[in-house]
């Protein structure tokens, strides 16, 4: 028989005014299994706690019921208290007789009766409590940052600076991401490369950072503190161990193919660095355009390379490493407007650029060395139309959300045009202008003063007339149709999650929102965590944001990673699911319902008659299980149960209420 101690709290007068505490105690004393019952003014106070400890000692109690405020208030307090006693901290039940009784009822007799019932329910549950022990899992003190844009670089640098090893993984041949493509950054107009390339170099040179460029995640197992991640390094065909990055090969390569970095505005060879300041500053061969690799002819680069770095036989290689924490910094892409906006020509007119193409065009290291000219004929435009919200805030054709950065870079683009080509007419078509950031509104004001013409309204159609791009739309403020004969159009298109995010999220069991951005654990309070322990978020993989926000987000994620990696092991809640092997039939219903992929089917050795057999049963990964109990309701047998909330315990509570 259990020896339960019941302790009823007055909470000053909070409880005692409405509940007859003496009666509740007297009634608790009569309950089966109760060895001691008492009351006190403030159970959570030092003397209150001491009283419980003394009673445990004196009456040899093995479990405790405290009738007091909500367990959400003081369950942790009392668990901590029990750590110093012989009673296991999980042999504790709290009857909520304040928030759910004395505060919501007025009739003292009835409230007392209810308190008695609530205590009875807790006692019945407590009688079935069992000692539980928090286990600890060791933490591998290494982090994997997936994505080498500014978010990934910042997170990696912060974690590395805190003294932990980081692998910075990037599927492109260089880190740098989208920020490396930008010309100037709003609102300060400092040169993007000037501020991002030093960070890239820092990351590349940091003793705690290992760069994994041209790499992709292919598989992952394990859980917080202990992720085994299988990574594929795509073949580079250049031995980076000996390559010095002299660049001779690039100059001799006969192939010319579209430059990804310049968004097709220029050509690059088949052996190439992504951009001049690439980190690592060593070329790779694009196997899809290399003549040697596609047709077996050429081999020029191999001939010219003074160090013999070229290795056409290079292959994709997979390797598995263990990490304690993962940071998603997979960034964004621009929506493919050409597929969605046929009325804008669907991509047929070369003088219509996306924002990122314009960034390359206006960039001093870009294809035109920063001269704003039309890609079609190299002429300077006299009239430029900038169209915002292409694909954003357009649930019918694109995305319903606001891409957040476009208002500001549209203003920046206008400013750059007016700065480099004074006298150009710049029209900005907008729905709203949103400038919530330090110095943002001032920048927008300045752009208008510079001469940018803001027209409120969407462009309904863009078509070519001679060498003009005719933009039809409505000025909704004036209620008038407008027509702009533009020489160049810049579409500020929506941000969307990077391709491949679905596979990656699925691999880690991380949830995505309706737009496929990674779902944070809590939109307000846990913005850099996912619901999967040990997987964190940095930057635009969680949703559109600009550079300052991205960097802040990345540093926040790094702080979370560092605080995790600073521990050598981590305590996990013992209130998790357990499987009774002899009852489990291995049907897998629980496996499918688990939101954390914490349940897997495991083959166990069993005997059936004289036969030794292997049969599948559900197995709970204590590192992943969060104790939600969804699996238990899916199990028909009741073979899987939740510690702390066992089926039998809940039924006992039901029964106790019904007495």
């Amino acid at each position: 028989m259990s020896k339960i101690g019941v302790f009823v709290c007055h909470c000053g007068t909070n409880i005692a005014n409405t509940v007859d505490v003496e009666r509740a105690v007297a009634s608790a004393r009569e309950l089966p299994g109760v060895a001691f019952a008492s009351e006190y003014k403030y159970m959570c106070s030092e003397p209150g706690q001491q009283m419980i400890k003394d009673a445990i000692e004196e009456y040899g109690l093995d479990r405790v019921v405290i009738a007091s405020c909500s367990p959400r208030m003081h369950e942790t307090t009392f668990r901590k208290m029990l750590k110093d006693t012989k009673v296991n901290p999980y042999m504790l039940e709290i009857a909520n007789i304040r928030e759910q009784c004395s505060w919501v009822h007025t009739d003292k007799a009835k409230a007392t009766e209810k308190a008695i019932r609530l205590i009875r329910m807790s006692v019945a549950k407590a009688a079935r409590d069992e000692p539980l022990f928090a286990s600890s899992i060791p933490i591998e003190k290494r982090a994997l940052v997936i994505g080498g844009g500014i978010a990934g670089i910042q997170a990696a640098l912060d974690i590395a600076d805190a003294g932990h090893e980081v692998a910075l993984l990037e599927r492109e041949p260089s880190i740098g991401g989208k920020m490396a493509m930008l010309d100037k950054t709003f609102p300060t107009l400092d040169c993007s490369a000037c501020i991002s390339t030093p960070k890239m170099v820092d990351a590349g040179a940091h003793p705690n950072i290992k760069l994994l460029t041209s790499c992709e995640v292919v598989k992952t197992e394990g859980y917080i503190g202990n992720f085994q991640v299988t990574i594929r390094r795509n073949a580079r065909y250049v031995n980076h161990d000996i390559c010095t990055g002299c660049g001779l090969c690039e100059t001799k390569c006969p192939v010319k193919t579209d430059s990804e970095f310049n968004h097709g505005l220029s050509k690059r060879p088949a052996i190439y660095k992504l951009f001049p300041q690439a980190v690592p500053s060593k070329p790779v061969i694009d196997k899809n355009s290399c003549l040697k690799l596609t047709k077996g002819k050429c081999g020029v680069c191999e001939k010219v390379c003074p160090l013999g770095c070229i290795d056409y036989a290079d292959e994709d290689r997979e390797f598995t490493e263990t990490f304690g924490a993962i940071v998603f910094a997979t960034g964004y892409e621009l929506i493919d407007w050409t597929a969605l906006y046929g009325e804008y020509g669907g991509g047929r007119y070369p003088d219509m650029l996306t924002g990122l193409q314009f960034e390359r065009l206006v960039n001093a290291s870009g294809p035109t060395e920063g001269h704003i000219v039309r890609p079609s004929d190299g002429k300077e435009p006299k009239t430029v139309a900038i169209v915002k919200c292409v694909g954003s805030r357009d649930p019918k054709k694109g995305k319903s959300y606001c891409s957040r950065a476009c208002c500001m870079y549209a203003a920046k683009h206008a400013h750059q045009i007016l700065d480099k080509l004074p006298g150009t007419r710049v029209f900005i078509f907008y729905i709203d202008v949103r400038t919530p950031g330090k110095g943002y509104e001032e920048f927008y004001d300045q752009t208008r003063k510079d001469g940018a013409i803001y027209v409120r309204g969407r462009i309904s159609k863009i078509y070519k007339d001679g060498d003009k791009l005719v933009c039809n739309g409505e000025d909704t403020l004036l209620g008038k149709q407008v027509k702009v004969m533009a020489d160049m159009v810049v579409l500020e298109t929506a941000m969307t999650p990077s391709s491949g995010i679905e596979e990656l999220a699925t691999m880690f069991g991380v949830a995505r929102d309706v737009n496929d951005w990674i779902q944070e654990a809590h939109p307000k309070l846990r913005p850099v965590e996912t619901q999967v322990g040990g997987v964190f978020l940095a930057g635009t993989c969680q949703g559109p944001r600009d550079i300052p926000d991205t960097v802040a987000h990345a540093s926040a994620a790094a702080a979370k990673v560092v605080s995790l990696l600073n521990k050598s092991e981590m305590e996990t809640s013992p209130m998790i699911s357990v499987v009774r092997r002899e009852h489990c039939c291995g049907c897998g219903a629980c496996e499918k319902i688990c939101p954390y992929t914490a349940i897997t089917l495991e083959e166990i050795d069993d005997r059936v008659g004289a036969k030794r057999v292997k049969r599948p049963i559900a197995s709970v990964n204590s590192g992943l299980c969060q104790g939600c109990g969804a699996c238990t309701a899916a199990c028909r047998t009741g073979a899987i149960d939740l510690l702390g909330f066992r089926n039998a315990q809940i039924l006992e509570e039901v029964d106790a209420l019904c007495l």
């Binding site: 309706v514 002899e582 009852h583 489990c584 039939c585 291995g586 049907c587 897998g588 219903a589 499918k592 319902i593 089917l601 059936v608 036969k611 057999v613 049969r615 599948p616 899916a634 028909r636 047998t637 009741g638 073979a639 089926n647 039998a648 039924l651």
Partner: protein, 278 residues
């Protein structure tokens, strides 16, 4: 002897002679002409005892759970209903396809009310088909029991089910024949947890009835075996039909056991599921 029976005997004999299967499950005669009993053929000559007539009604797939780790594959004659039972148990990870040798026998319908709602006379999974498929006649009202009960008042429904379950003797034949009731241990026997009272009282019998239905619910293959085996002749398909009817109403066409891959209704969800809760 009809041609089909000859083909079945031949197939069973061949399978047993080849040594590819440990035994073959079919139907055998009893002392009573209108009853057959599941037959386990172990030797080629046992095939001669096979019968195939309008009384070859009993479902035979469930016996596969008695021998989960056979040394050799088990031969089973499969009609449409047996094949759905097999899909069901494969989906629930209880039996393995490689342990089965499925001899497909398109069914001609049996002398049983429950066969009138049959939607698949032809086997949906098999290794060989012993004779040509024939179209399944248009089934009668799939929810004939549930529709009748739904038409009653709430008090009427309670009275109806009370009358049914007052007669239930809790022999669990319905459970034991059901291919969707395929747990290793039944919740009924988990007395320590106490989900099911052992008393043969109206309430515990009703609770057994509802719980059984809910556990089977989205997995029910609509073979009607639960009713056939009930020694008290209770119309318990009325419970499972109700669940299937609701599922079909909620998410559209839903059938269990037509393949071994489709997810169970209660094993998945849709963000846009109907929300009847405020």
């Amino acid at each position: 002897m009809n041609d089909n029976l000859a083909k079945m005997r031949e197939a069973a004999k061949r399978a047993l002679e080849s040594g590819d299967v440990g035994y073959v499950i079919g139907w055998g005669a009893t002392k009573f002409p209108d009853k057959t009993s599941p037959l386990f053929m172990r030797k080629p000559e046992d095939a001669e005892r096979l019968v195939w007539n309008e009384y070859a009604i009993p479902g035979i797939a469930k016996y596969l759970l008695d021998d989960l780790y056979p040394d050799k594959p088990i031969g089973v004659f499969v009609r449409g209903c047996d094949s759905r039972a097999i899909n069901r148990m494969m989906k629930d990870n209880r039996i393995k396809r490689e342990n089965l040798r499925l001899l497909g026998i398109p069914c001609d319908g049996k002398d049983d009310e429950r066969c009138t709602i049959c939607r698949n006379r032809n086997p949906l999974v098999y290794d060989e088909l012993l004779w040509d498929e024939a179209p399944t006649p248009e089934p009668k009202d799939r929810y004939f029991r549930a529709n009748a009960v739904e038409a009653m008042s709430a008090d009427g429904r309670y009275a109806y089910w009370s009358e049914v379950f007052d007669q239930c003797i809790r022999c669990y034949a319905c459970r034991n024949i059901c291919p969707a009731c395929n747990c290793k241990e039944c919740y009924v026997d988990m007395t320590a947890t106490g989900f099911q009272g052992k008393q043969h009282s109206r309430s515990d019998n009703l609770i057994f009835g509802v719980t059984r239905a809910f556990h089977v619910g989205d997995r029910c293959i609509e073979c009607g075996e639960c009713e056939r085996v009930c020694p008290m002749g209770l119309p318990i398909m009325g419970q499972t039909q109700k669940i299937l009817k609701d599922i079909n109403e909620l998410v559209g066409d839903y059938e269990s056991g037509v393949d071994a891959e489709s997810e169970n209704y209660l094993g998945v969800f849709d963000l846009d599921d109907k929300d009847e809760f405020m």
